[in-house]
Protein backbone atom coordinates (compact mmCIF):
# COMPACT_ATOMS: atom_id res chain seq x y z
CA UNK A 1 0.00 0.00 0.00
CA UNK A 2 1.33 3.43 -0.96
CA UNK A 3 0.07 6.75 0.33
CA UNK A 4 0.06 9.88 -1.80
CA UNK A 5 -0.63 13.49 -0.87
CA UNK A 6 -2.14 16.54 -2.58
CA UNK A 7 -1.33 20.22 -2.31
CA UNK A 8 -4.85 20.64 -0.92
CA UNK A 9 -3.87 18.42 2.04
CA UNK A 10 -5.73 15.25 1.19
CA UNK A 11 -4.08 11.83 1.45
CA UNK A 12 -4.96 8.71 -0.52
CA UNK A 13 -3.74 5.27 0.54
CA UNK A 14 -3.82 3.01 -2.49
CA UNK A 15 -4.20 -0.76 -2.21
CA UNK A 16 -4.64 -2.42 -5.59
CA UNK A 17 -7.46 -0.63 -7.35
CA UNK A 18 -8.89 0.99 -4.20
CA UNK A 19 -7.86 4.27 -2.64
CA UNK A 20 -8.80 5.41 0.88
CA UNK A 21 -9.06 9.19 1.14
CA UNK A 22 -8.71 11.52 4.11
CA UNK A 23 -7.28 14.89 5.09
CA UNK A 24 -3.84 15.23 6.56
CA UNK A 25 -3.05 15.89 10.18
CA UNK A 26 -1.79 19.31 9.12
CA UNK A 27 -5.17 20.07 7.51
CA UNK A 28 -7.16 19.05 10.58
CA UNK A 29 -4.88 21.15 12.78
CA UNK A 30 -5.59 24.16 10.58
CA UNK A 31 -9.34 23.54 10.51
CA UNK A 32 -9.74 23.07 14.24
CA UNK A 33 -12.63 21.23 15.88
CA UNK A 34 -14.55 19.33 13.20
CA UNK A 35 -18.27 19.08 13.95
CA UNK A 36 -19.71 17.48 10.82
CA UNK A 37 -18.58 15.69 7.68
CA UNK A 38 -20.70 15.63 4.55
CA UNK A 39 -19.72 12.42 2.76
CA UNK A 40 -20.36 11.58 -0.90
CA UNK A 41 -23.04 9.01 -1.76
CA UNK A 42 -21.71 5.51 -2.21
CA UNK A 43 -21.63 4.61 -5.89
CA UNK A 44 -21.21 8.21 -7.02
CA UNK A 45 -18.60 9.07 -9.62
CA UNK A 46 -15.93 11.59 -8.71
CA UNK A 47 -13.38 13.33 -10.89
CA UNK A 48 -9.90 14.30 -9.78
CA UNK A 49 -10.22 17.83 -8.40
CA UNK A 50 -13.96 17.60 -7.70
CA UNK A 51 -15.14 18.39 -4.18
CA UNK A 52 -17.37 15.46 -3.24
CA UNK A 53 -16.94 15.91 0.50
CA UNK A 54 -17.13 18.84 2.94
CA UNK A 55 -15.79 19.06 6.48
CA UNK A 56 -17.46 21.51 8.84
CA UNK A 57 -15.45 22.99 11.68
CA UNK A 58 -16.82 25.35 14.29
CA UNK A 59 -15.55 28.18 12.14
CA UNK A 60 -16.16 27.23 8.54
CA UNK A 61 -17.06 24.60 5.97
CA UNK A 62 -14.19 23.39 3.80
CA UNK A 63 -14.13 21.35 0.62
CA UNK A 64 -12.25 18.10 0.37
CA UNK A 65 -11.09 17.43 -3.19
CA UNK A 66 -10.93 14.01 -4.80
CA UNK A 67 -7.23 13.16 -5.27
CA UNK A 68 -8.16 10.85 -8.16
CA UNK A 69 -11.11 10.02 -10.39
CA UNK A 70 -13.24 6.96 -9.75
CA UNK A 71 -16.33 5.61 -8.05
CA UNK A 72 -17.05 5.99 -4.34
CA UNK A 73 -17.12 2.44 -2.96
CA UNK A 74 -17.40 3.10 0.79
CA UNK A 75 -17.69 5.95 3.28
CA UNK A 76 -16.62 6.20 6.92
CA UNK A 77 -19.97 5.85 8.69
CA UNK A 78 -18.31 6.31 12.09
CA UNK A 79 -17.98 10.02 11.29
CA UNK A 80 -21.74 10.55 11.53
CA UNK A 81 -21.60 10.25 15.31
CA UNK A 82 -17.92 11.01 15.83
CA UNK A 83 -16.72 13.65 13.35
CA UNK A 84 -13.95 14.50 15.83
CA UNK A 85 -12.19 11.34 14.61
CA UNK A 86 -10.92 13.55 11.80
CA UNK A 87 -9.16 15.64 14.45
CA UNK A 88 -7.88 12.83 16.61
CA UNK A 89 -6.93 10.32 13.92
CA UNK A 90 -6.85 12.20 10.61
CA UNK A 91 -4.54 9.88 8.75
CA UNK A 92 -6.07 6.57 9.82
CA UNK A 93 -9.38 6.12 11.68
CA UNK A 94 -10.61 9.51 10.48
CA UNK A 95 -10.60 8.48 6.82
CA UNK A 96 -13.45 9.90 4.76
CA UNK A 97 -14.29 7.71 1.75
CA UNK A 98 -12.93 4.96 -0.49
CA UNK A 99 -12.78 5.20 -4.23
CA UNK A 100 -12.29 2.61 -6.97
CA UNK A 101 -9.63 4.19 -9.15
CA UNK A 102 -10.58 4.99 -12.74
CA UNK A 103 -7.04 5.81 -13.83
CA UNK A 104 -4.06 4.88 -11.66
CA UNK A 105 -1.98 7.19 -13.85
CA UNK A 106 -3.50 10.16 -12.01
CA UNK A 107 -1.46 9.19 -8.95
CA UNK A 108 1.63 10.37 -10.77
CA UNK A 109 0.57 13.99 -10.19
CA UNK A 110 0.53 13.53 -6.40
CA UNK A 111 3.30 13.85 -3.79
CA UNK A 112 4.95 11.25 -1.61
CA UNK A 113 5.29 11.83 2.12
CA UNK A 114 8.71 13.46 1.94
CA UNK A 115 7.58 15.85 -0.77
CA UNK A 116 4.41 16.68 1.14
CA UNK A 117 6.31 17.33 4.38
CA UNK A 118 8.63 19.68 2.47
CA UNK A 119 5.59 21.38 0.96
CA UNK A 120 4.01 21.95 4.40
CA UNK A 121 7.28 23.29 5.78
CA UNK A 122 7.25 25.89 3.03
CA UNK A 123 3.76 27.18 3.94
Amino acid sequence: MTTYYTKDHEWIAVDGNTGTVGITDYAQSQLGDITFVELPPEGSAVKQGDAPCVVDSVKAASDVYAPVSGTVSDVNDALADAPELVNTDAESGGWLFRVTLADAGELGALMDRAAYDDYVKGL
Partner: protein
Protein backbone atom coordinates in the same frame (compact mmCIF):
# COMPACT_ATOMS: atom_id res chain seq x y z
CA UNK B 1 -18.97 31.47 -0.83
CA UNK B 2 -18.68 29.69 2.45
CA UNK B 3 -16.69 26.84 1.07
CA UNK B 4 -13.00 27.11 0.86
CA UNK B 5 -10.42 24.56 -0.18
CA UNK B 6 -8.28 22.87 2.40
CA UNK B 7 -5.39 25.01 1.36
CA UNK B 8 -3.01 26.11 4.08
CA UNK B 9 -3.88 28.21 7.08
CA UNK B 10 -5.35 30.96 4.99
CA UNK B 11 -8.54 29.00 4.55
CA UNK B 12 -9.47 29.19 8.17
CA UNK B 13 -8.88 32.90 7.99
CA UNK B 14 -10.47 34.37 4.93
CA UNK B 15 -13.93 32.97 5.55
CA UNK B 16 -13.85 33.17 9.31
CA UNK B 17 -17.44 33.84 10.35
CA UNK B 18 -16.08 35.99 13.14
CA UNK B 19 -14.48 38.32 10.62
CA UNK B 20 -15.88 41.79 10.48
CA UNK B 21 -14.58 42.33 6.97
CA UNK B 22 -17.18 42.94 4.32
CA UNK B 23 -16.96 41.35 0.91
CA UNK B 24 -15.95 44.71 -0.47
CA UNK B 25 -13.10 45.03 1.98
CA UNK B 26 -11.98 41.54 1.09
CA UNK B 27 -12.01 42.46 -2.58
CA UNK B 28 -9.97 45.55 -1.85
CA UNK B 29 -7.61 43.51 0.26
CA UNK B 30 -7.00 41.25 -2.68
CA UNK B 31 -5.94 44.20 -4.78
CA UNK B 32 -3.72 45.78 -2.18
CA UNK B 33 -3.42 43.69 0.95
CA UNK B 34 -2.61 46.03 3.84
CA UNK B 35 -0.32 44.51 6.43
CA UNK B 36 -2.31 43.93 9.62
CA UNK B 37 -1.25 46.06 12.56
CA UNK B 38 0.21 44.74 15.80
CA UNK B 39 -1.76 45.07 19.06
CA UNK B 40 -0.05 45.43 22.47
CA UNK B 41 -0.60 41.77 23.43
CA UNK B 42 0.64 40.32 20.14
CA UNK B 43 3.79 38.70 21.55
CA UNK B 44 1.86 37.57 24.64
CA UNK B 45 -0.62 35.64 22.46
CA UNK B 46 2.11 34.09 20.31
CA UNK B 47 4.03 32.98 23.41
CA UNK B 48 0.91 31.15 24.56
CA UNK B 49 0.54 29.24 21.29
CA UNK B 50 -2.25 31.29 19.75
CA UNK B 51 -2.93 30.98 16.07
CA UNK B 52 -2.91 34.57 14.85
CA UNK B 53 -5.10 35.73 11.97
CA UNK B 54 -5.76 39.12 10.38
CA UNK B 55 -8.98 40.51 11.81
CA UNK B 56 -10.37 44.04 11.62
CA UNK B 57 -6.95 45.22 10.43
CA UNK B 58 -4.95 43.60 13.25
CA UNK B 59 -3.25 40.32 13.98
CA UNK B 60 -5.58 38.67 16.50
CA UNK B 61 -5.64 35.27 18.25
CA UNK B 62 -8.34 33.05 16.73
CA UNK B 63 -7.66 30.11 19.03
CA UNK B 64 -5.20 28.59 21.51
CA UNK B 65 -6.22 25.02 22.47
CA UNK B 66 -9.25 24.74 20.22
CA UNK B 67 -12.50 26.60 19.90
CA UNK B 68 -14.75 24.04 21.59
CA UNK B 69 -12.47 23.62 24.62
CA UNK B 70 -12.11 27.39 24.97
CA UNK B 71 -15.83 27.93 24.57
CA UNK B 72 -16.76 25.38 27.25
CA UNK B 73 -14.03 26.68 29.58
CA UNK B 74 -15.58 30.15 29.39
CA UNK B 75 -19.05 28.80 30.20
CA UNK B 76 -17.68 26.88 33.21
CA UNK B 77 -14.70 28.90 34.46
CA UNK B 78 -13.40 32.23 33.16
CA UNK B 79 -11.97 33.21 29.79
CA UNK B 80 -9.70 36.16 29.05
CA UNK B 81 -10.32 37.83 25.69
CA UNK B 82 -8.08 40.48 24.13
CA UNK B 83 -10.41 42.92 22.41
CA UNK B 84 -7.90 45.71 22.02
CA UNK B 85 -8.88 46.06 18.35
CA UNK B 86 -12.10 47.76 19.45
CA UNK B 87 -12.29 51.53 19.41
CA UNK B 88 -12.26 53.27 22.79
CA UNK B 89 -13.48 56.84 22.53
CA UNK B 90 -14.05 59.69 24.97
CA UNK B 91 -16.73 62.29 24.26
CA UNK B 92 -16.56 65.34 26.47
CA UNK B 93 -17.61 68.97 26.71
CA UNK B 94 -20.65 70.93 27.79
CA UNK B 95 -23.71 69.34 26.22
CA UNK B 96 -21.99 66.05 25.39
CA UNK B 97 -25.09 64.05 26.36
CA UNK B 98 -27.34 66.08 24.09
CA UNK B 99 -24.76 65.92 21.30
CA UNK B 100 -24.63 62.13 21.53
CA UNK B 101 -28.42 61.97 21.63
CA UNK B 102 -28.50 63.61 18.22
CA UNK B 103 -26.71 60.52 16.88
CA UNK B 104 -27.85 57.68 19.18
CA UNK B 105 -31.39 56.56 20.05
CA UNK B 106 -30.58 55.99 23.74
CA UNK B 107 -31.47 58.16 26.72
CA UNK B 108 -27.92 59.40 27.30
CA UNK B 109 -29.08 62.36 29.42
CA UNK B 110 -30.55 59.94 31.95
CA UNK B 111 -27.39 57.78 32.06
CA UNK B 112 -25.97 58.26 35.55
CA UNK B 113 -22.27 58.26 36.34
CA UNK B 114 -21.04 54.69 36.59
CA UNK B 115 -23.76 53.35 34.32
CA UNK B 116 -23.32 51.76 30.92
CA UNK B 117 -25.81 51.37 28.09
CA UNK B 118 -25.96 49.53 24.76
CA UNK B 119 -26.69 51.83 21.87
CA UNK B 120 -26.52 52.18 18.11
CA UNK B 121 -25.01 54.57 15.63
CA UNK B 122 -27.69 55.15 12.98
CA UNK B 123 -27.63 56.77 9.56
CA UNK B 124 -30.27 59.15 8.16
CA UNK B 125 -32.47 56.26 7.06
CA UNK B 126 -32.28 54.44 10.39
CA UNK B 127 -29.72 51.95 9.06
CA UNK B 128 -27.24 50.66 11.63
CA UNK B 129 -23.72 52.05 11.22
CA UNK B 130 -22.45 50.33 14.36
CA UNK B 131 -23.48 49.02 17.74
CA UNK B 132 -21.64 50.28 20.80
CA UNK B 133 -21.49 50.72 24.55
CA UNK B 134 -21.70 54.13 26.21
CA UNK B 135 -20.58 54.65 29.81
CA UNK B 136 -20.97 57.80 31.84
CA UNK B 137 -17.53 58.22 33.41
CA UNK B 138 -18.56 61.34 35.30
CA UNK B 139 -16.57 63.94 33.38
CA UNK B 140 -16.99 62.35 29.96
CA UNK B 141 -18.77 59.62 28.04
CA UNK B 142 -16.68 56.56 27.30
CA UNK B 143 -17.77 54.86 24.09
CA UNK B 144 -16.59 51.44 22.86
CA UNK B 145 -17.18 50.69 19.18
CA UNK B 146 -16.36 47.76 16.90
CA UNK B 147 -12.82 47.41 15.62
CA UNK B 148 -13.65 47.07 11.94
CA UNK B 149 -15.89 50.15 11.98
CA UNK B 150 -14.00 52.42 14.36
CA UNK B 151 -12.40 54.65 11.72
CA UNK B 152 -15.74 55.19 10.00
CA UNK B 153 -17.38 55.80 13.38
CA UNK B 154 -14.77 58.40 14.31
CA UNK B 155 -15.26 60.15 10.97
CA UNK B 156 -19.04 60.08 11.46
CA UNK B 157 -18.79 61.46 14.99
CA UNK B 158 -16.31 64.17 13.96
CA UNK B 159 -18.60 65.21 11.14
CA UNK B 160 -21.75 65.38 13.23
CA UNK B 161 -20.71 66.30 16.76
CA UNK B 162 -20.71 70.07 17.35
CA UNK B 163 -17.36 71.86 17.49
CA UNK B 164 -17.54 72.42 21.24
CA UNK B 165 -17.65 68.66 21.86
CA UNK B 166 -14.27 66.93 22.09
CA UNK B 167 -13.77 63.44 20.70
CA UNK B 168 -10.66 61.59 21.83
CA UNK B 169 -9.55 58.21 20.54
CA UNK B 170 -8.04 56.39 23.53
CA UNK B 171 -5.65 54.51 21.28
CA UNK B 172 -3.00 54.09 23.97
CA UNK B 173 -5.39 51.81 25.85
CA UNK B 174 -6.02 48.14 25.34
CA UNK B 175 -9.21 46.30 26.30
CA UNK B 176 -9.56 42.92 27.98
CA UNK B 177 -12.76 40.99 28.60
CA UNK B 178 -12.88 38.51 31.49
CA UNK B 179 -15.96 36.35 31.07
CA UNK B 180 -17.47 33.38 32.83
CA UNK B 181 -18.94 32.28 36.17
CA UNK B 182 -15.52 32.48 37.84
CA UNK B 183 -14.68 35.93 36.46
CA UNK B 184 -15.65 37.81 39.61
CA UNK B 185 -13.56 35.58 41.87
CA UNK B 186 -10.59 35.83 39.53
CA UNK B 187 -10.73 39.61 39.26
CA UNK B 188 -11.30 40.00 43.00
CA UNK B 189 -8.10 38.02 43.62
CA UNK B 190 -6.10 40.86 42.05
CA UNK B 191 -7.08 43.18 44.90
CA UNK B 192 -8.29 46.14 42.89
CA UNK B 193 -8.93 49.29 44.92
CA UNK B 194 -11.74 51.64 43.91
CA UNK B 195 -10.23 54.88 42.61
CA UNK B 196 -12.70 57.06 44.48
CA UNK B 197 -14.42 56.68 47.86
CA UNK B 198 -17.93 55.34 47.54
CA UNK B 199 -17.25 53.36 44.37
CA UNK B 200 -18.20 49.69 44.71
CA UNK B 201 -15.75 46.80 44.91
CA UNK B 202 -15.48 44.92 41.60
CA UNK B 203 -17.56 42.07 43.00
CA UNK B 204 -20.36 44.49 43.94
CA UNK B 205 -20.59 46.07 40.49
CA UNK B 206 -23.78 45.02 38.80
CA UNK B 207 -24.37 44.21 35.14
CA UNK B 208 -23.91 47.39 33.07
CA UNK B 209 -22.26 49.31 35.90
CA UNK B 210 -18.73 50.67 35.66
CA UNK B 211 -16.10 52.20 37.90
CA UNK B 212 -12.44 53.16 38.03
CA UNK B 213 -9.93 51.11 40.02
CA UNK B 214 -6.26 50.94 40.85
CA UNK B 215 -4.36 47.72 40.48
CA UNK B 216 -1.23 48.71 42.36
CA UNK B 217 -0.39 51.93 40.57
CA UNK B 218 -2.10 50.85 37.34
CA UNK B 219 -5.40 52.63 36.62
CA UNK B 220 -8.18 50.45 35.23
CA UNK B 221 -11.61 51.27 33.82
CA UNK B 222 -13.84 48.31 34.64
CA UNK B 223 -17.41 47.58 33.58
CA UNK B 224 -19.51 44.52 34.37
CA UNK B 225 -20.44 43.58 30.84
CA UNK B 226 -19.36 41.46 27.93
CA UNK B 227 -20.23 39.59 24.78
CA UNK B 228 -20.67 36.00 25.92
CA UNK B 229 -23.92 36.00 27.92
CA UNK B 230 -21.92 35.16 31.05
CA UNK B 231 -21.14 37.29 34.06
CA UNK B 232 -17.88 39.13 33.57
CA UNK B 233 -15.99 42.34 33.04
CA UNK B 234 -14.49 44.51 30.37
CA UNK B 235 -11.29 46.17 31.52
CA UNK B 236 -9.70 49.16 29.85
CA UNK B 237 -5.99 49.40 30.61
CA UNK B 238 -3.02 51.37 29.30
CA UNK B 239 -1.26 49.47 26.53
CA UNK B 240 1.96 49.59 28.55
CA UNK B 241 0.30 47.63 31.40
CA UNK B 242 -1.87 45.20 29.50
CA UNK B 243 0.60 42.29 29.37
CA UNK B 244 1.19 42.45 33.13
CA UNK B 245 -2.55 42.51 33.74
CA UNK B 246 -3.16 39.60 31.36
CA UNK B 247 -0.40 37.65 33.14
CA UNK B 248 -1.89 38.36 36.55
CA UNK B 249 -5.34 37.26 35.42
CA UNK B 250 -4.07 34.10 33.72
CA UNK B 251 -2.12 33.26 36.88
CA UNK B 252 -5.53 32.62 38.48
CA UNK B 253 -6.39 28.94 38.09
CA UNK B 254 -9.86 29.75 36.74
CA UNK B 255 -8.59 31.89 33.86
CA UNK B 256 -7.39 30.87 30.42
CA UNK B 257 -6.89 32.99 27.31
CA UNK B 258 -9.66 32.55 24.74
CA UNK B 259 -9.53 33.36 21.04
CA UNK B 260 -11.88 35.05 18.61
CA UNK B 261 -13.31 31.75 17.42
CA UNK B 262 -14.87 30.99 20.78
CA UNK B 263 -15.83 34.64 21.19
CA UNK B 264 -17.97 34.21 18.08
CA UNK B 265 -19.57 30.93 19.13
CA UNK B 266 -20.25 32.28 22.65
CA UNK B 267 -21.93 35.46 21.41
CA UNK B 268 -23.98 33.48 18.91
CA UNK B 269 -25.32 31.22 21.70
CA UNK B 270 -26.06 34.36 23.72
CA UNK B 271 -28.14 35.69 20.81
CA UNK B 272 -25.96 38.78 20.54
CA UNK B 273 -25.69 40.19 17.01
CA UNK B 274 -22.32 40.74 15.35
CA UNK B 275 -21.84 43.95 13.42
CA UNK B 276 -21.01 43.42 9.76
CA UNK B 277 -22.96 40.18 9.74
CA UNK B 278 -26.24 40.38 11.66
CA UNK B 279 -26.22 44.18 11.68
CA UNK B 280 -25.38 46.34 8.66
CA UNK B 281 -26.46 49.71 7.25
CA UNK B 282 -29.23 47.75 5.49
CA UNK B 283 -30.67 46.61 8.82
CA UNK B 284 -32.60 48.79 11.24
CA UNK B 285 -32.99 48.52 15.03
CA UNK B 286 -36.59 47.31 14.88
CA UNK B 287 -36.14 44.42 12.44
CA UNK B 288 -32.87 43.55 14.22
CA UNK B 289 -34.74 43.07 17.51
CA UNK B 290 -32.87 45.95 19.16
CA UNK B 291 -35.84 48.20 19.90
CA UNK B 292 -34.89 47.97 23.59
CA UNK B 293 -32.03 50.32 22.75
CA UNK B 294 -34.54 53.06 21.80
CA UNK B 295 -35.58 54.48 25.13
CA UNK B 296 -39.10 55.58 25.99
CA UNK B 297 -38.33 59.30 25.98
CA UNK B 298 -36.53 59.08 22.66
CA UNK B 299 -39.51 57.23 21.17
CA UNK B 300 -41.77 60.05 22.30
CA UNK B 301 -39.46 62.88 21.28
CA UNK B 302 -37.45 61.52 18.35
CA UNK B 303 -34.70 63.91 17.35
CA UNK B 304 -31.94 61.40 16.65
CA UNK B 305 -30.43 60.63 13.29
CA UNK B 306 -32.72 58.19 11.49
CA UNK B 307 -35.52 58.76 14.00
CA UNK B 308 -38.26 59.28 11.42
CA UNK B 309 -37.65 55.89 9.84
CA UNK B 310 -37.07 54.13 13.14
CA UNK B 311 -40.18 55.55 14.83
CA UNK B 312 -42.26 54.65 11.78
CA UNK B 313 -40.91 51.09 11.96
CA UNK B 314 -41.74 50.93 15.66
CA UNK B 315 -45.29 52.03 14.93
CA UNK B 316 -46.01 49.81 11.94
CA UNK B 317 -43.60 46.89 12.29
CA UNK B 318 -41.01 45.77 9.79
CA UNK B 319 -41.24 43.33 6.88
CA UNK B 320 -38.45 41.16 8.30
CA UNK B 321 -37.22 40.22 11.77
CA UNK B 322 -34.02 38.80 13.21
CA UNK B 323 -34.78 35.41 14.71
CA UNK B 324 -32.97 32.41 16.13
CA UNK B 325 -33.01 29.03 14.41
CA UNK B 326 -32.20 25.67 15.94
CA UNK B 327 -31.12 23.00 13.46
CA UNK B 328 -31.44 19.26 13.76
CA UNK B 329 -28.47 16.99 13.19
CA UNK B 330 -24.91 18.31 13.12
CA UNK B 331 -24.59 20.13 9.82
CA UNK B 332 -24.36 23.89 10.30
CA UNK B 333 -25.91 26.63 8.18
CA UNK B 334 -23.60 29.57 7.60
CA UNK B 335 -23.99 33.23 6.80
CA UNK B 336 -25.68 33.68 3.44
CA UNK B 337 -27.68 30.43 3.47
CA UNK B 338 -31.26 30.99 2.27
CA UNK B 339 -34.22 30.15 4.49
CA UNK B 340 -37.38 28.58 3.06
CA UNK B 341 -40.95 27.91 4.12
CA UNK B 342 -41.83 25.13 1.71
CA UNK B 343 -40.95 26.41 -1.75
CA UNK B 344 -41.02 30.05 -0.67
CA UNK B 345 -37.77 31.84 0.14
CA UNK B 346 -38.45 33.73 3.37
CA UNK B 347 -35.06 34.90 4.57
CA UNK B 348 -31.32 34.56 4.91
CA UNK B 349 -28.95 33.34 7.61
CA UNK B 350 -26.72 36.15 8.90
CA UNK B 351 -24.59 34.05 11.22
CA UNK B 352 -24.59 30.41 12.13
CA UNK B 353 -22.47 27.59 13.36
CA UNK B 354 -22.20 24.64 15.66
CA UNK B 355 -23.15 25.38 19.26
CA UNK B 356 -20.61 23.73 21.58
CA UNK B 357 -22.87 24.17 24.62
CA UNK B 358 -26.00 22.75 22.97
CA UNK B 359 -24.20 20.25 20.73
CA UNK B 360 -26.27 21.12 17.68
CA UNK B 361 -26.09 23.89 15.07
CA UNK B 362 -27.78 27.24 15.62
CA UNK B 363 -28.20 30.30 13.45
CA UNK B 364 -29.47 33.85 13.35
CA UNK B 365 -31.49 34.85 10.32
CA UNK B 366 -33.64 37.67 9.04
CA UNK B 367 -36.97 36.22 7.88
CA UNK B 368 -40.29 37.71 6.79
CA UNK B 369 -42.42 38.64 9.78
CA UNK B 370 -45.07 36.05 8.91
CA UNK B 371 -42.50 33.27 9.51
CA UNK B 372 -40.81 34.70 12.58
CA UNK B 373 -42.98 33.23 15.35
CA UNK B 374 -41.32 30.87 17.82
CA UNK B 375 -41.86 27.27 16.83
CA UNK B 376 -42.23 27.96 13.10
CA UNK B 377 -40.77 25.09 11.07
CA UNK B 378 -38.50 26.30 8.28
CA UNK B 379 -35.76 24.88 6.08
CA UNK B 380 -32.30 26.18 5.30
CA UNK B 381 -30.59 25.45 2.01
CA UNK B 382 -27.04 24.30 2.60
CA UNK B 383 -25.22 23.27 -0.56
CA UNK B 384 -28.44 22.15 -2.20
CA UNK B 385 -29.67 20.19 0.81
CA UNK B 386 -32.65 21.40 2.85
CA UNK B 387 -31.87 21.29 6.56
CA UNK B 388 -34.90 21.38 8.88
CA UNK B 389 -34.81 24.25 11.37
CA UNK B 390 -37.18 25.68 13.94
CA UNK B 391 -37.59 29.28 15.08
CA UNK B 392 -36.56 29.43 18.75
CA UNK B 393 -36.31 32.30 21.22
CA UNK B 394 -32.93 33.90 21.80
CA UNK B 395 -30.70 33.69 23.69
CA UNK B 396 -30.10 30.07 22.73
CA UNK B 397 -28.18 29.64 26.01
CA UNK B 398 -29.59 31.63 28.98
CA UNK B 399 -27.74 34.77 30.03
CA UNK B 400 -26.17 34.65 33.49
CA UNK B 401 -25.54 38.33 34.14
CA UNK B 402 -24.93 39.60 37.69
CA UNK B 403 -27.86 41.91 38.32
Amino acid sequence: MNRVPILCGALAVSHDPASHESALEEANDNLDPPEPEILPLDAWHRARGARMVPFAGYWMPVQYDGIIAEHLWTREQAGLFDVSHMGQLAVSGDGAAAALEALLPGDISALKPGRQRYSLLLDETGGILDDLMVTNRGDYFYVVVNGATKWDDIAHLREHLPDEITLNHLDEHGLLALQGPKAAAALAALGLVPAFPGMPEVTALKFMQAAAYHWGDVPLGVSRSGYTGEDGYEISVRAADIAALADALCAQPQVRPIGLGARDSLRLEAGLPLYGHDLTPETDPVSAGLAFAISKRRRAEGGFMGSEAVLAALASGTPTLRIGLALEGRQAAREGALVYAGAQEVGRVTSGGFSPSLNHPIAMAFVTAAHAADGTALEIDVRGKRLPARVVPMPFVPHRYFR
